[in-house]
């Protein structure tokens, strides 16, 4: 599935009702009706879009996309969720670190390493997640 096909598919999922080719052109911001028709045909061949008697297109089934998770009609990059999870964990680890310092308790190097790994994981997942989200936002 190329970028335009992906955008059309996501648009149909987002509106949640049948749409004609002109609505799709406006919704996805494509200037050529031929491009829309060609990509809709591709989606029909894949069996994910149906055409009704009025010539409108509707989603037949939601398909899974690698790296994304469906949340209602929204496609969310998994990496952003992983990043949020690690940020939640990092808040607790940072609080524990602060408590140990205030209480003058020794901080084991393994604990410091754990906190650094959590912080790096959160940052890397966030970066990757936003790159995927940017791709999705274009759609």
């Amino acid at each position: 599935m190329n970028a335009t096909t992906f955008q059309i598919y996501l648009y149909l999922v987002k509106i949640g009702q049948p749409a004609g080719p002109r609505d799709i052109m406006r919704g996805v911001n494509i200037s050529s009706p031929g491009v829309v028709h060609r990509n809709l045909q591709k989606l029909m061949d894949l069996g994910v879009v149906d055409k009704d008697a009025y010539g409108r297109y509707a989603i037949k089934e939601k398909i899974a996309f690698k790296g994304y998770v469906w949340f209602g009609r929204n496609l969310i990059p998994r990496f952003i969720l992983f990043s949020s999870f690690f940020f939640g964990l990092l808040i607790v680890e940072a609080a524990v670190l602060a408590i140990r310092m205030v209480a003058r308790e020794p901080v084991e190097s393994s604990y410091l390493l754990l906190t650094i790994v959590t912080a790096l994981s959160a940052a890397m997942f966030l970066l990757e997640g936003f790159q995927l989200r940017k791709k999705y936002s274009k759609a």
């Binding site: 929204n74 969310i76 949020s84 999870f85 939640g88 990092l90 607790v92 524990v96 209480a103």
Partner: protein, 220 residues
């Protein structure tokens, strides 16, 4: 709509991560709990040394004036009791002896005419500074020093009366705090002209010596 759901899901993931961390590091937050720890001075020995004024080095007075500030060598034995059901590690110890002692509003103590002030940080983990639940141990500390601040410390010993102040900070096995505190008036006995002692621990002919850890003592 998209943003609301998107932000909602991110918050959910954040909360799940936070709760996972909270469950994993639950013990670390026990630092906000505090347990009692009992401390009592059961023995103290003081010896006052006068240093020859003809010898270069240590001055009998101080930079503030020709005060009488000889050296005081001392050994103090404390009975430390852990009344909790948690193992407790001692951490910071402060001992002082002064002429009068009063508790201040902020939980501190004000001593006048201090004879000695001893502070020790037990953060050296090489020794076993743990007290098992519901257990008592005697520890001894010793040092030599000049009475701090002024010349009025030594007369306190000669009066054979003073206030002992002991404060002890500890941590429990589950990383909570335990605190010991004592402020009491004691009467000292005079062993000789320059020797004073206080004893409610040892019988006649009973002696103690330091264990290998240089803190706990063995009684013979």
């Amino acid at each position: 709509m998209l943003n609301q759901k998107f932000v909602g899901l991110i918050c959910l993931a954040l909360v799940i991560g936070f709760l996972t961390g909270l469950v994993s590091f639950y013990n670390e937050f026990n630092v906000f709990q505090s347990y009692p720890f009992e401390v009592d001075v059961v023995y103290a020995y003081f010896k006052v040394f006068n240093v020859s004024s003809g010898v270069a080095g240590l001055q009998l007075g101080s930079i503030y004036g020709p005060f009488n500030r000889p050296l005081v060598a001392y050994v103090i034995v404390l009975n430390l009791t852990n009344p909790t059901d948690k193992a407790v590690r001692i951490r910071d110890l402060t001992i002082a002896l002064g002429e009068t002692g009063t508790q201040t509003g902020q939980g501190g103590v004000s001593l006048t005419n201090t004879v000695i002030r001893y502070e020790r940080d037990f953060s050296d983990w090489s020794y076993d500074y743990w007290w098992q639940p519901n257990s008592s141990k005697l520890i001894a500390v010793s040092a030599t020093g000049q009475p701090p601040f002024n010349e009025l410390g030594i007369p306190v010993l000669n009066q054979q009366k003073g206030y002992f102040y002991v404060a002890l900070d500890c941590v429990t096995e589950n990383k909570a705090y335990a605190k010991g505190f004592m402020l009491k008036q004691v009467n000292l006995n005079m062993a000789s002209e320059n020797e004073f002692f206080y004893n409610v621990a040892f019988k006649e002919n009973e002696n103690f010596y330091f264990s290998n850890d240089a803190i706990t003592i063995d009684v013979s």
